[in-house]
Symmetry: C2
Subunit: 106 residues, 2 copies
Amino acid sequence: MDTKTAGKYERRAAVIKALAHPSRLYIVDRLAEHEHCVNELTALIGSDMSTISKHLSVLKNAGVVQDERRGASIYYSLRIPCILNFFKCADAVIQAIQKEQSALAE
Amino acid sequence: MDTKTAGKYERRAAVIKALAHPSRLYIVDRLAEHEHCVNELTALIGSDMSTISKHLSVLKNAGVVQDERRGASIYYSLRIPCILNFFKCADAVIQAIQKEQSALAE
DNA sequence: TGGTTAATTGGCTAATTTACCAAATAACCA
DNA sequence: TGGTTATTTGGTAAATTAGCCAATTAACCA
């Protein structure tokens, strides 16, 4: 694989990698409804706030979310809504696996 | 987050995680055109065959690809074509980042 | 200014991932 | 059967990731 092609797939992988964590997917799903501050997401997920903050920074560095300070809080929102298509397809894969497994169980 | 919800996002993350590697994304892109055996993919990518084989096993375990032995070779093909939507969206994120960076550079 | 809440950063450890090599399996052909 | 090609598996070292705690930064209010 030549360097240019490798770069293309590395950039794509960087975006997808940023999404590849349950908490981060959950965050994306919540932000798809409306913006949330770190505090709210922390309460929803139940991890340490520093952990959530780091997840948000991963998503932000990848270009998936954006943040905006308003007063003492920092509000995060989805930058690219097409991210939600990932869910549909991931769920289609999951369904296919389940179908296969129940077919094998017969 | 309750256990059921956590499970849902863990399953989704497992699928997305399987895609989160440049070589695996490249493989998916090649398989979107037509099936390939391990040998062919190894030649295209240029890593050790054992490395490619392990990448394929990650994709297979996640339900993204399927394999079929024909003679001495094992042919891999895409199981769920919607995976390709990931690329479009990942590229949209990448474009947005680049736009932002060139705006900042002004 | 001092206290309080919101968020990020640094440090640390445990767990996971990756890539290569070497060895094992599987299928084919002479 | 023996040799060759295709693929997978096991082992190992290096790199990355995740999560928590403690400390720091930022904004607000009394």
